[in-house]
Amino acid sequence: MSQRAETVVIGLGNLLMGDEGVGIRIIRKLAEQEEQSPDTEFVEAGAAGMGIVHALAGRKKAVIIDCARMGERPGAMLRFAPRDVASRKAQSAYSLHEGDILQAIELSARLGECPASVVIFGVEPVDLGPGDRLSPALNARLDSYVRRVARELAPRSARLTPPVCIVAGDGAVSECGH
């Protein structure tokens, strides 16, 4: 495999399914300021499913941004590691079309290709129905989501990284352990 950027930032989701597209909207804004994140590749992965395995390979760090039902208040953003969560999805295993980023990460790990550090930023949705806009609750917080992930990507000396970050329901950013 050719030389790849040390860090990959992967945005997941569908822009046409309401809040499902929040990961794509965040990564597009991050990519606009990519000069602030050296040796970093931004991958808009949409609904690529197991294709994520290839985006993870050959990196030191992966930052994944996705819409996530986590039982939090709508609009909350949490930072967590794959080992911190278990999927509640009912997977029929009938079809390749059932994407699950956690499965892709597990396969990558078992293949010995997974970056040493994988960080997931999940955003609790309000509306996952058809529509090309975020719900007002998430749209109002979009810039704060971008700032939070950008801090994750900043050079180590410039960032403060708690294990979990919550963008509070009122739009303010607060941080706490989990």
Partner: protein, 432 residues
């Protein structure tokens, strides 16, 4: 006393949901057999109405994460058909190459990640990494090359951005094509290894034949995925893609919220086996040899063999991709500015998505605003056929017991790899 079955594989639906399997029998008599399929993403047809011509492909490419190239290419072709746009030979070859990438990526993924675990007796590909490490690495490597083709030619790993109406917004460099060629050449022995693995367990594919009508694109002297007319194994008639509605004959089934289709029979099948049955005479050498190794011949009516046809087609597209790259490099990649003048028109097109023939139609006004769309996806076309397979399979296999029948029904659905939940992939997690 005959066999009693009570199979109810029900999956909680999210936005679109999964399919459900119901099979009930009492004292050897079948009472109910149903494939309950949810709605396909029809809302995309509503979503594109009122949109500009150049917004259509970016929208419909998000119908599916696995088949986004196919949805992009068929939408572009339908638009070009509506507006009378001709494309260059270079554009045609690049689109064919892009399609080869998606076919390879999807087929290897399906065979390696969904079918192989069935045949090797595990739940998913994950445990296979420990039990069959070299095989899984081979599958992942081949899958990666399909992905690389899509990334280089389409401009992104999925939901391509380079292919646009009239041509390509961004062209690959000749060096990128040379690099791709090297990767694809390295895939040939990997495919032979994958075929060997599938062959070693192919005896576990259920022996089940049901006379079936198969539908696919047909083009003279070509194993086509992209050009041609609509052909059937039931008739020599070839139908122009502009009349695809007269083939699909969509109707509403009470057991499903998705539209079903039929042509000369109560149902028809699309996909790799359909293409093989209609076009096997035009396979390239490695693909033809692969089919021969499996004993796969045209007129095969065992739906489980769709996975074997996918292995054959993987070889086919690899050979075709190498030829396309050679032709592109010989001619040299030339800049070709893309200019589209929108005009009113009604256009339709078809391509072979990995799961089967895919139709799009768009009607535009003189400003190029979309007034109407009709999208007929392969999974929708296969629903009725899955039902008919179920109806034949359950009585034929029920003596082998509930667990066997359930596994056979689930494997059957997997062999079609229906697109039933792919426009949203959000996480649903609890903290542990």
């Amino acid at each position: 006393m005959g066999q009693t079955l009570n199979i109810d594989v029900h999956h909680i639906t999210r936005v679109e949901g999964h399919g459900n399997i119901v099979a009930r029998a009492r004292d050897g008599k079948v009472q109910k057999v149903e494939w309950q399929a949810p709605e396909a993403p029809r809302f995309f047809e509503a979503m594109v109405r009122g949109r500009r011509w150049d917004e259509i492909q970016p929208i419909v490419s998000r119908i599916c994460g696995i088949c986004s190239v196919s949805h992009s290419l068929v939408a572009i072709k339908a638009l070009e058909n509506a507006m009378g746009i001709e494309v260059s030979e270079q554009t045609d070859k690049l689109r064919l190459l892009l399609d080869c990438g998606e076919q390879l990526e999807s087929h290897v993924l399906h065979v390696g990640y969904l079918v192989a675990p069935d045949l090797l007796g595990v739940k998913s590909v994950i445990p296979l990494v420990a039990s069959h490490p070299s095989e899984v690495k081979t599958i992942v490597a081949a899958h990666r090359v399909g992905n690389a083709i899509m990334e280089v030619i389409g401009g992104r790993m999925t939901h391509p951005v380079s292919a646009v109406p009239g041509g390509f917004a961004r062209l690959p460099t000749e060096q990128q094509l040379r690099d791709l060629k090297k990767q694809i050449e390295e895939t040939v022995p990997r495919l032979e290894a994958i075929a060997g693995v599938v062959l070693s367990v192919a005896g576990k594919l259920p022996a089940f034949d049901r006379p079936t009508e198969y539908i696919a694109l047909v083009e003279p002297k070509t194993y086509t995925f992209y050009h041609g007319k609509i052909g059937s194994t039931d008739t020599r008639e070839l139908v122009d893609v502009h009349n695809f509605e007269s083939v699909a004959n969509e109707y509403v089934s009470p057991q499903s919220t998705a539209k079903w289709t039929k042509w000369h029979r109560d149902s028809y099948a699309v996909g790799a086996l359909a293409r093989f049955n209609l076009n096997a005479a035009h396979l390239r050498p490695l693909a033809a040899q692969t089919a021969k190794t499996f004993g796969l011949k045209p007129d095969c009516c065992n739906p489980y063999m769709n996975s074997v046809a996918q292995v054959v087609e993987s070889a086919q597209v690899v050979e075709h991709a190498l030829q396309l790259i050679d032709e592109l490099l010989t001619r040299g990649i030339k800049p070709e500015p893309v200019k589209v003048t929108p005009k009113a028109g009604n256009g339709a097109a078809a391509v072979e998505a990995p799961r089967g023939i895919l139709f799009h139609r768009y009607v535009f006004d003189k400003a190029g605003i979309c007034e109407r769309a009709n999208i007929c996806i392969p999974t929708g076309q296969n629903h009725a056929n899955i039902q008919k397979d179920f109806e034949a399979l359950v009585p034929a296999m029920m003596d082998r017991g509930q667990d066997y029948v359930r596994q056979a029904l689930e494997m059957l659905v997997r062999s079609y790899d229906p697109c039933i939940s792919c426009s949203t992939h959000y996480l649903d997690v609890q903290f542990v």
